[in-house]
Amino acid sequence: MFENLSSRLTRTLDALRGAGRLTEDQVNTAARELRMALLEADVALPVVRDFVDQVKARAVGAEVTQSLTPGQALLRIVQQELTATLGGKSEALNLRTQPPAVLLMCGLQGSGKTTTTGKLALRLREVDKKKVIVVSCDVYRPAAIEQLKIVARNVEVEWFESQAGQDPVVIAKSALEYAKKQYADVLIVDTAGRTAIDETMMQEIAALHAALNPIETLFVVDSMTGQDAANTAKAFADRLPLTGVILTKTDGDARGGAALSVRHVTGKPVKFIGVGEKSAALEVFHPDRIAARILGQGDMLGLIEETTRKVDADEALRLANKLKSKKSFDLADYREQMQQMQKMGGLDSLLEKLPGGAKLQAQVQKAQPEREIKRAIAIINSMTRQERRYPDLIKASRKRRIALGAGLEVQDVNKLMRQFDQTREMMKKMQGGGMAKMMRSLAGKLPPGMMGPPR
C-alpha cells in the first residue's frame, strides 16, 4: 500500500546523477519524500520536522561514493540517523537498587500494560532468576485484577491481592511493604489505563509514583498509535519521570512510527517490544530493526548482505552454466539447489526481513520448508548415482529401499518425486537459467537500486 522510502528516493533522486556530493537541491527534494514517508509511518508531525532537519544538516555536502547512487547514499544517512535517534543500541532494565526494585507500568487504555506485566515477570523470573511479585492497582476496569491474577499464575509468580473497592495508593503501599518482608527482588505494579487529559487519573499515577519511588517507570505504548503518541508521551513524561518505553503489538503490520515519536519526545529508551499475546512474546528492542520498519524497508540492507554472503555466487553460476549446457535436469542438480536454499538460511529468515514478510512467513511456516528441504536431501542421498542421473529408473521396489535408507516412508519418496517433476518442468520453461535466474528474479523484487554494484 505504501511506497517505501527507498523507491521514493530512487524515483526522485536518481535522475540527478553525477554529483560527487549531495547538493542542497537534492537534499531538499529528498526531504519532501522523507517527510511523507515518515508521516505515512505514523511519526508525529513535530517529530518529523525535527528529524528531517537533522537529516538535512547531515546530508548536504555528504559524499556520494562511487558504488552508490544519490538515493542510496541518502537512504543510508536516513537509516543511520533514525537508528541513532531511536537509541543506537538496546538498553536493559535497571534493577540496581535496594531490593525490591519497583517497576511501575503506565499508559493509555488497552495499550498492553497488564499483559506486559506478565511478560516482564516471566522474563525476570526465568532469565534473571529474580523473585518477582506483581500487584494490580487497577480498581476501575472490570476484572482487571482478576486478569493479572490469571496472568501471574500462568507465569508462576506471586500475585499480591487487591480489590476493586480499595484506594490504589493504599494497595501500592501495602504491596511494597509485603514485597520487602518477603525479600522479593522485584515488585511490578500494574495500573489502570488513563488518557493523558484525565486530570484526576494523572494525579493518581503521580501519587502512585510518589508512594512507590520506582526504579523503572515504564510507558507502555501500542505500536499502532498514530499522531497522538507524541502528545500523550509528553503528557505522561511531564507528570512522571519515565525511565523507559515498551512498544507493544509489533507482531502486526503497523509501521511503528510511534516508537520514534515517543523516543524523541521523552528522550527515554524503548527497552522491549511486545510480539504477541502470550507471556513469552517479549523481545529486547533493536533500534536498527524498528528503523528499517518505519522506513518500510524491511531489513532490506540486512537481507542483501545476507544473501550475498550466504549464497556462494561462484557455486550458483557453476550450477547455472552446468544446467544450461545439459539437456536434462536430474536429481543431483535438484539436490544442489536444495543445498543452496539451505545455505540461505531458508525462506523463512529471508521473508522475515521483507516488508509485509510476516504474513508470508506465517504461510510458509505452515508448510515447514526447512524440514521439507532436509527430507528431500536425505531421500536423494539415499539414492544410487544411477538413480539420481536417471530418475525414471525409480520404481516401487527402489522407492522402498530409498525410503528405508532415508528413514522415511514410501509416500515421502513419492512426494519428492512429484516435486522434482514439477521443478524439472519449471526448469525447462526457464530454459536452464536455474539458480542464477532465480536469484535475479528475487533481485527484481527488491526496490530498484538496492542491488547496486558490490561495495
Binding site: 511523507m36 476484572a143 498514530g226 497522538d228 503489538k249
Partner: protein
C-alpha cells in the same frame, strides 16, 4: 473517573463534551483559523496549514490530499477569500465525506434475533462497547443477550460478566478455553429459543495479520450461518481513535475475512482526534455506527456526522 453520567439530556451533553474534548489542549483544524488570514486575505500557506492539521489528526495522506486539493481548487477559482468561506468549504467537504457513512444501526422487526459480531484488534474497546451497547438497547426496550466469544484472553469472560450484570442482560458463556465458535453458536440458539431481539457476540482481540485467527472468525461465521443463513446481521469493527494509518489495514483485512457492515470509533475522549475515520470513509465507505467517549456505561453515542464535523470545525460556519 466516574462510571455514571447523569441521564436525561444525555445525547446533547455527550456531543458538547465531544466538542470540548476534541478541541481540548492542542489545536485541531480550525481552532485558530484566523491565523491563516493576514488582514482580509487568506495567507498563501493556508492550505498547507490545513493539510498539516489533517495529517496531525491521523486523516492520512490520501484523505488529506483529497480534501486539500478540493479546497485548493475553490481557492484558485476565487470562491474562498475569507476565513468564513474557508471554514464553510472545509465543513462542506468533510460532510460530503462523512454524511454518507453516518448510518445508525437499524434493527428491523422481522429479524429475530438480530445477530451482531463485534471484532477488532487487541485492546480497542470491543468488550466495553458491548457493555455500553447492551445497556443502550435494553433501555430502548429490546431484549438483549451477550455471548462470551473471547475465550482466550485472561479474565475476558469475567470482564464481560461484569458488563452483562451492569447492563442487566443475560450472558451465554462456556468459560475460558472453550471453542469460540461453539460458544457463539450456542448463544445464537439460546437467543432463538428465548425469542431475544438482539444477540451481541464478543470476540477475542486479534491482529488482522494473524492468519489462523482470521480463519477462526470465518469459522464462527460459517457455524452461525447453520442456524441463520443471513447471520451475522451486523459485523462491527471497533477501531481505537488513537490508531494511526494501520486502522485502514485493519478495516481492509477484517472486511476481507468476514465482511464488515459497520465501524465504531472508541476512545474519542482522549487527546487523539480520530481522523482515521476520514481515511476509512474515503477508502471503504463503511457505515459508522457509534463513537465511544469514555469508560462509563453511558459513554457511547450514535455517530452523527454533523455533530462530528461541528466538533472539528466549529458550528458557526
Amino acid at each position: 473517573m466516574s462510571l455514571e453520567t447523569p441521564v436525561g439530556n444525555r445525547e446533547s451533553s455527550l456531543v458538547k463534551s465531544l466538542r470540548a474534548r476534541l478541541n481540548k489542549g492542542d489545536s485541531w483544524l480550525t481552532y485558530d483559523l484566523g491565523r491563516l488570514f493576514s488582514a482580509d486575505k487568506l495567507r498563501e500557506d493556508a492550505i498547507d496549514q490545513l493539510e498539516e492539521r489533517l495529517l496531525l489528526a491521523d486523516a492520512g495522506v490520501d484523505a488529506t490530499n483529497w480534501l486539500t486539493e478540493r479546497l485548493g481548487y475553490d481557492l484558485r477559482a476565487g470562491r474562498i477569500k475569507t476565513e468564513v468561506q474557508l471554514r464553510a468549504a472545509l465543513r462542506k467537504a468533510l460532510l460530503d465525506l462523512l454524511l454518507p457513512v453516518a448510518k445508525p444501526l437499524d434493527f428491523p422487526a422481522y429479524i429475530k434475533p438480530y445477530v451482531m459480531f463485534v471484532a477488532g484488534v487487541n485492546g480497542v474497546g470491543k468488550t466495553t462497547t458491548i457493555g455500553k451497547l447492551a445497556t443502550r438497547l435494553k433501555r430502548d426496550g429490546k431484549t438483549v443477550m451477550i455471548a462470551a466469544g473471547d475465550t482466550f484472553r485472561a479474565a475476558a469472560v469475567e470482564q464481560l460478566e461484569t458488563w452483562a450484570t451492569r447492563a442487566g442482560v443475560p450472558l451465554i458463556s462456556q468459560g475460558a478455553g472453550a471453542d469460540s465458535a461453539s460458544v457463539i453458536y450456542d448463544a445464537v440458539s439460546a437467543a432463538k429459543a428465548r425469542g431475544a431481539d438482539v444477540l451481541i457476540a464478543d470476540t477475542a482481540g486479534r491482529l488482522h495479520t494473524q492468519i489462523h485467527l482470521m480463519d477462526e472468525l470465518r469459522k464462527i461465521k460459517r457455524v452461525v450461518q447453520k442456524l441463520d443463513p443471513f447471520a451475522p446481521h451486523e459485523v462491527m469493527l471497533v477501531v481505537d481513535a488513537t490508531t494511526g494509518q494501520n486502522a485502514l489495514n485493519q478495516a481492509l483485512q477484517f472486511h476481507e475475512a468476514i465482511g464488515l457492515t459497520g465501524v465504531t470509533l472508541t476512545k474519542l475522549d482522549g487527546s487523539a482526534k480520530g481522523g482515521v475515520l476520514l481515511a476509512i470513509a474515503r477508502r471503504l465507505a463503511l457505515p459508522v455506527r457509534f463513537i465511544g467517549l469514555g469508560e462509563g456505561i453511558d459513554d457511547l453515542a450514535p455517530f452523527d456526522a454533523v455533530n462530528f464535523v461541528d466538533a472539528l470545525v466549529g458550528d458557526d460556519a
